[in-house]
């Protein structure tokens, strides 16, 4: 099965027949590694430079998202895809917030969709790979614990620049809640309130927004389309969702369509939300200095076909509006 490809992808599933099927799908383009459990998968990532990992969620021992979390710390440049089946919804919710997943694929999958997603992930991985030291370097400084690498990544973010506050856009339809949030976060951040999509749109075109905290009613297509358009036009904005309900499908959508950063369920503790905003600010600064760390940005650069495919008409309409507003204000 040896191929001359220098792209390594790792397939993880406890079911050998699935592994055989997936191997057959990709073996002509890429080097295939397979593992039937989380431990083996992690070992393979330690030993090899893996570009993309595609893991099943439900496996004996470690669950898929747990495996991906560990892989993220060992090899941050590896793009992680989670294959989920029925009744894994609860686990998905947790995985969204640990930020280990690039895309969710649901079972049963379509072969074209699978190939497109993996293909885009490979492109992104190659681009992102330039940012991180090669596997060989990591191996040389062996003993470097995975956790440290994560810390390192966060530390890379530059400190707050002088007295300039970073923009926090708060989108909340409920005026009362909007005011409360403005009061809580107003002192700490440069906050911009918006109580509708239109207002959010105005604020986005007038100010430089780092983090967007939003309670859009995402069940309406409008909300998702708008956020998707925002992420397309301003890939550096980090989006935090506040919602009323834990809804796994929504979580999958928000990861797949606008790479949501965190997903908070109302009501939540002020401290937790503040912590999230802070780390989102750090993330946003990192994106500005090191765009390659922004998967959404890279995806747009190297795999526009993947991104474009998911775009609906409404999104395009919003994108056009955002684009022209940008030009008008010179943002």
């Amino acid at each position: 099965m040896a191929t001359e490809s220098n792209i390594n992808i790792l397939l993880v599933d406890d079911e050998p027949l699935v592994l055989q099927s997936l191997s057959a799908t990709f073996r002509r383009q890429y080097n295939i590694f397979t593992a039937t459990n989380g431990k083996d998968a992690i070992e393979i990532v330690r030993q090899n430079h893996i570009h993309v990992v595609l893991s099943d969620q439900r496996m004996p021992g470690m669950l898929g998202h747990e495996v991906l979390r560990v892989i993220k710390t060992i090899s941050p440049s590896t793009i992680r895809i989670l294959l989920t089946g029925y009744s894994d919804l609860d686990a998905i919710m947790n995985s969204v917030n640990s930020g280990e997943v690039f895309r969710f694929l649901t079972k049963p999958w379509k072969i074209d969709q699978l190939r497109d997603t993996v293909g885009a992930a490979v492109d992104i991985a190659q681009k992102v790979g330039q940012l991180y030291p090669s596997k060989a370097d990591i191996m040389r400084t062996s003993g470097a614990e995975p956790a440290e690498i994560v810390e390192q990544e966060e530390e890379v973010a530059p400190p707050v620049a002088g007295n300039q506050k970073e923009g926090l856009l708060i989108v909340e339809f409920n005026k009362e809640q909007l005011n409360t949030m403005m009061q809580v976060f107003g002192k700490k951040y440069q906050t911009y309130p918006a109580s509708s999509i239109t207002e959010a749109f105005d604020q986005l075109s007038k100010h430089e927004v780092y983090v967007m905290l939003t309670d859009l009613n995402l069940n309406s297509e409008d909300g998702i389309d708008f956020l998707h358009a925002v992420k397309q036009e301003y890939p550096n904005i980090v989006i935090i969702l506040l919602t009323q309900v834990r809804d796994a499908l929504l979580a999958i959508k928000s990861i797949n369509e606008f790479q949501v950063y965190r997903y908070h369920v109302k009501p939540c503790a002020v401290e937790d939300l503040d912590k999230t905003i802070q780390s989102a600010m750090n993330r946003a600064r990192t994106y500005r200095t090191q765009p390659l760390k922004n998967v959404a940005y890279v995806a747009k650069e190297v795999a526009p076909q993947l991104v474009e495919k998911e775009v609906s008409e409404k999104t395009n309409w919003w994108r056009d509006k955002l684009r022209s507003a940008k030009k008008l204000f010179g943002g």
Binding site: L17, R58, G85, K110, I111
Partner: protein, 535 residues
């Protein structure tokens, strides 16, 4: 919500109704008591009046007698010679006594008349008696004339008694008048008194009759009210029971839906995997097939050219065709396709197995009660529960040789699934666990033992786990009916027993005992109705 509200309102209404009934009942009882008290006070008054009237006639007679004797003694004194000193003294003393008695009697008589007329106190033999005035018009009519007569002429008799100091110097004309009055009215006074007493007696008999009637009426009414209350209460209790029954039915339905959902989830998960790779495999086979077709077409062209003797063409086509065949060989497409097809068939077999298992699990297309093997039941339950167990549970089967028993397999499967699910949840915190399924025969019973080494059940709740609505799971996660329904299925449906042993931190063992000679219901008739002759 709206339904709940009307139910609450209904309950409130019934509560108010109950209060109304209770109040009426109590009021009736109380009014009978009050009536009794009033009437007994009345009759006490009457008997005092009777006493008064009796004394009245007694004292009248005494006054009358003594008045006459006074006159006789006076007359006797007037004819006695003054020399008969002894006789004079004796007679004077008799006169004094008679007059004194008259005086006393007439004053008491006067006070009794006044008492009966307007009420007041009479003094008799040193005791005071308070007498109420006669108010009843019928009673009063009997004494009205007497009172009137007395009021007119009492002066004559009272003055005589009061003004006379010495009986021997009594005013003869006044005495004459008094005697006249007495003689004239003696009959009237005595008759009036008699009549009065008789009338009071009559009245009291009437009153007692009325009282009895009122008591009986009140009793009847209160019995009616009581019956009404009881009927209404029964009705409302029945309604309440019905409501409770309905909501219980609803909950049991929910539980059924929940276990159905569990089954569907398990099934969907188990199907997803084979479906996923079978589909993928077929797409790959199709892609490979295109290459095969290419090669076949190319080979056919070469062959045709060869047959046609078009050698220059053959020479030109052979390298391309070989290239195609080589590439197929090199990538191993033939083997790959063979493998993909084998795998797909296996996947399809698995789906088929799942469907067969679903049938075994739910047995919707079979009779509820039938001969079944408990080991098989456990196996089909394990397939359904696989998605809950897969991640962290090791399943150890320790099946004994047990004969088929008559049971309701679908229901037993529900019980097994329930206990197995609980076992999986009990091991969740630990991250891994062992589920042991053991079957064996003990005496006349087939025993299924389902054990886990999870967190165990605390001693204080172990007696409650079979109670309906008892759950340790968060709200919305469990109905708390699973084990209570399981118990019902085992005990009522199968005449079996279900017991539990548990140690916190060590695990839990459920034992299900099922009698082996279950009764198989046999139809003892051929036709469902009395057989009609067919023509």
């Amino acid at each position: 919500m709206a339904e709940n509200k009307t139910k609450e309102q209904q309950a409130g209404f019934r509560f108010v109704e109950l209060i109304v009934f209770g109040t009426i009942f109590l009021a009736l009882v109380a009014s009978v008591f009050v009536l009794n008290i009033i009437i007994s006070r009345d009759s006490q008054r009457d008997s005092e009046q009777v006493f008064c009237a009796t004394k009245q006639s007694e004292y009248w007679q005494r006054a009358y007698r003594n008045l006459i004797r006074t006159q006789e003694r006076l007359a006797e004194l007037s004819i006695i010679d003054s020399i008969q000193v002894e006789q004079i003294a004796e007679k004077s003393a008799q006169l004094d006594t008679a007059f004194f008695n008259y005086k006393k009697a007439i004053s008491i008589f006067d006070s009794t008349i006044a008492a009966l007329n307007k009420g007041g106190v009479i003094m008799l033999e040193g005791s005071e008696f308070e007498i109420a005035p006669v108010t009843n018009p019928r009673a009063r009519a009997t004494i009205e004339k007497e009172i009137q007569k007395w009021t007119e002429s009492r002066g004559v008799l009272i003055d005589l008694a009061e003004k006379t100091q010495n009986p021997r110097q009594i005013d003869p004309t006044q005495l004459e008048k008094a005697i006249d009055f007495a003689i004239q009215n003696d009959e009237l006074i005595l008759a009036s008194n008699r009549d009065f007493i008789v009338r009071l007696g009559e009245l009291s008999t009437e009153k007692i009759k009325n009282l009895q009637f009122a008591q009986v009426a009140a009793l009847v009414v209160s019995i009616l009210v009581f019956i009404g209350m009881a009927v209404r209460l029964t009705i409302s209790l029945r309604k309440q029971a019905k409501i409770i029954q309905e909501s219980q039915g609803q909950l049991i339905q929910n539980e059924k839906m929940a276990s159905l959902g569990q089954m569907v989830a398990g099934l969907a998960h188990e199907m997803n995997t084979p479906l996923g790779f079978v589909r993928n495999n077929i797409e790959i086979i199709r892609e490979n097939d295109r290459e095969f077709q290419d090669a076949v077409v190319a080979s056919a062209t070469v062959l045709k050219s060869l047959v046609a003797g078009n050698y220059s063409e053959v020479e030109r086509q052979i390298p391309q065709t070989l290239e195609k065949l080589k590439s197929i060989e090199k990538i191993g497409l033939v083997d790959e396709n063979a493998m993909m097809i084998t795998n797909s068939l296996e996947g399809l077999d698995r789906i088929q197995e799942l469907i067969v298992n679903l049938r075994n699990f739910s047995r919707l297309d079979q009779t509820a009660t039938q001969l079944a093997n408990l080991n098989q039941c456990l196996d089909s339950t394990l397939v359904i529960a696989n998605h809950i167990l897969k991640r962290h549970m090791t399943v150890v089967k320790d099946y004994g040789k047990i004969p088929d028993i008559v049971c309701a397999p679908a229901q037993l499967n529900q019980v097994f699934l329930n206990i197995i699910t609980n076992a999986a949840h009990a091991c969740e915190e630990k991250g891994e666990g062992t589920l042991r399924l053991k079957t064996f025969v003990e005496k006349n019973e087939a025993v299924v033992q389902i054990s886990d080494n999870g967190k165990g059940i605390p001693q204080e709740v172990i007696n409650k786990i079979f109670d309906p609505f008892f759950t340790t799971k968060p709200v919305g996660k469990g109905t708390g009916l699973g084990l209570s329904i399981s118990k019902k299925i085992i005990e009522e449906g199968h005449n079996g027993r279900i017991t539990v042993k548990s140690k916190v931190g060590h695990g839990t063992d459920f034992f299900i005992y099922l009698p082996m000679q279950g009764k198989q219901e046999k139809a003892d008739k051929v036709f469902s109705e009395s057989a009609p002759a067919l023509n």
